[in-house]
Amino acid sequence: MKKFSILLAIVMLFSLVLAACGPTETPPAVEEPVVEEPVVEEPVVEEPEEVEEVEEPEPVEEAPPFEGVTVQFWHVYTDAPGEALQALVDEFNDTNPYGITVNALDQGRYSDVEDKVNAGIQSGDLPDVVMAYTNALADWYSVGFIADLVPYIDDPEYGLNVEELADLYPHLKEAGSTPDGAWIAYPMTQSANVLVLNYTWAEELGFAELPATSAELKDLVCAAAAENTEKGGDFAGTGGMVFFPNATNWLHWLYAFGGNELNDARDAYDFTSQEAIDTTMFILDLKNEGCVWQTESYPNPEQAQRKAIITMSSTAGAPYYAAAFADESNADVWGWMAAPGPDGTLAVNAFQQMLGVIPSTQQREMASWLFIKWLTSPEIQARWIPASGYYGTQYTTEAMMTDYAAENPVWASGVELAAIGPSEPQTFPAWSSVRRTLNDFAAELYNATSQAEVEEILARLTETANELVAEVQ
């Protein structure tokens, strides 16, 4: 009893001692960028201790326009990519002629960054540059917490010239711009939802060339399904394409069929187009003929076991496929391809790792832009890609990656696809909510039994999407 009392007293005392001994200074890396006013260092004029002669004051060099500005940058990279990014940031800090210092801080996953910015909007603790998905940046822009980059991109001294703008892949400006013309999300790199094809198996099945149209793709996946059905056992019912009916995959095929999510005037959602109907009927046709199937989890092992000739994945999933093929000791050659439409249109569903600038003073915003401009310049991007495995955003970067592409054939198979796009309309009002709804509707579409039912579901989807817009507005 006595011992217990003593133990308890020690615990209480310990709490007090810890509280008293805690650090009393701000941890070195913590800064409050919004509260902090841009600091322009005054030239320090020291008082001479003993002045015997009045010396001519030395001419004071004019401080660079951004001298002393510290830009806080929230990103999502840890481990090796995090270290590579930090090395680039250090290089910028050491070499930029403006006197800007960037403080790069890893904030966890994209969802963590979103949570932190949402909380920071309330408290005022926000960074200057934030890495996020476009839809999150669009949401923050709608409440005034993301700056329009157009004035900085167009700035005659610090902006991008005509050649630099033309070097950017065509779909990226639209992907980062709002319907009202504000450029709110600048792409750092790209990944894309692509088709993963087992080239070796396709060749064995008599398809030496990549399928150029949706009809050719159907022939390929159905031939693979037929081969596995003949094998029987564990292979029965497998072999074709693994297709999960979700927003990402359905939109990917919609783009290949020449469709999109908006009406002709581009002022409302419209999923009732003929392309949307054709897309869904194509998938249902594959399903009814036993040429698509689903796995319980990511289909990497099934593809490595030759239970799927095509799967759909983010290009960021390359390490998982490589591990699965290695584990199966499968030497088949595999790589990325775009979804082909009926007329040969090729499409991927491209996602960008976007950078946005939080509104502050013009000086800070410009300093933030200068850092973004440097970080996304072709030379720096070409050094970042090997560390991250992503794709570039500019033709010039692509040309600088020939050695890396030669060493990484899977990555190389996606270089041209990254330039194709398109991307989802993430800056269109209510896209986050519409996308969530689309996930449910995609599953419903996959279970439809007739074209009439498909049309009815698509009409309901359109109505629901536009209701969500009305709610937001």
Partner: protein
């Protein structure tokens, strides 16, 4: 003879029943152990194997543990977690004891109303409180002598006032007979002495419950630490596990190795407190 035979038959029936109960319980224990076994098994697989459906590794990859430790920066986060947990536990136990004692054994105006209001906050989902709590700690950091964000106060102080702990202790303290307090008063003891020398020694069971539950809650917390830290300086061990997840998937084998490393302290705490916990319950009954 017949009676003995009957007794033997009766005993045999009881044994069969007991065996059946043990089989059911063993089955239940095994089922609840399956996720744990799967975690350890997957932690020893190659990535390719872990992505598949295998339950046991074909080859043991013990190096996963070293890699998980390195890539998750556990050496840094482990110390942070220990400090955060110790500070939180010490504060929570201290404040809960005094608050619970006041509500249970002291008379003051509005006591029941205040307790009722505090108790009603249990109904509010924790996620709803995240932004208000964040704003509060941000403001306190601005007006106080030390920063709260990215520092130990934001990670620990909000959890020192646990209404669940106060409620649990209050219910226990209220059961201590008034006669004991009267006797202590006659011997010259005040509230503090009565609390420390009589009430707390009789309340080891709820204190152990609070200790174990708070330890697990604090050790595993992730969303709040991510929100109130900007650098690794004070991030806990659970943050390290996120290093194995990216937009295209998860390094399942390393995640499981990391998860096993992170739960070792919880297992140790539970192992050491389990006996004391049950002993305390057995010995805490009061005789009139």
């Amino acid at each position: 003879m017949d009676n003995r035979h009957k007794r033997r038959k009766g005993f045999s029936y009881a044994s069969r029943r007991k065996i059946f109960i043990y089989i059911v319980l063993s089955l239940g224990a095994f089922i609840s152990l399956i996720p744990f076994i799967w975690m350890i098994s997957t932690s020893l697989m190659s990535l390719g194997e872990a992505l598949g459906t295998a339950f046991f590794p074909s080859e043991l990859h013990f190096e996963n543990y070293a890699e998980a430790w390195r890539r998750a920066q556990f050496s840094e986060y482990f110390i942070n977690s220990i400090l955060i947990t110790l500070i939180t536990l010490a504060g929570e136990i201290t404040f809960s004891i005094f608050a619970a004692y006041a509500f249970a054994r002291m008379e003051f105006p509005g006591r029941d109303l205040i307790f009722g209001v505090m108790l009603s906050t249990i109904m509010i989902p924790a996620m709803v409180l995240i932004i208000p709590n964040f704003l509060t700690v941000t403001w306190l950091g601005r007006i106080g002598p030390i920063p709260w964000i990215n520092n130990w106060p934001a990670l620990t102080i909000p959890f020192m006032g646990s209404i669940f702990s106060i409620f649990l202790l209050k219910q226990f303290f209220a059961q201590v007979p008034d006669e004991l307090f009267d006797a202590a008063q006659i011997d010259g003891a005040g509230h503090l002495r009565f609390l420390f020398q009589v009430v707390l020694p009789l309340s080891k069971a709820p204190l152990m419950v609070i200790l174990v539950l708070s330890f697990i809650g604090t050790w595993n917390s992730l969303a709040w630490p991510m929100l109130v830290t900007n650098t690794p300086d004070w991030r806990p061990i659970s943050v390290g596990l996120m290093n194995f997840v990216d937009e295209a998937g998860q390094l399942v084998n390393l995640t499981m190795a990391g998860a096993f490393i992170t739960i070792i302290p919880i297992l140790v705490i539970y192992f050491f407190t389990q006996r004391q916990f049950t002993d305390s319950i057995a010995r805490s009954g009061l005789k009139g």
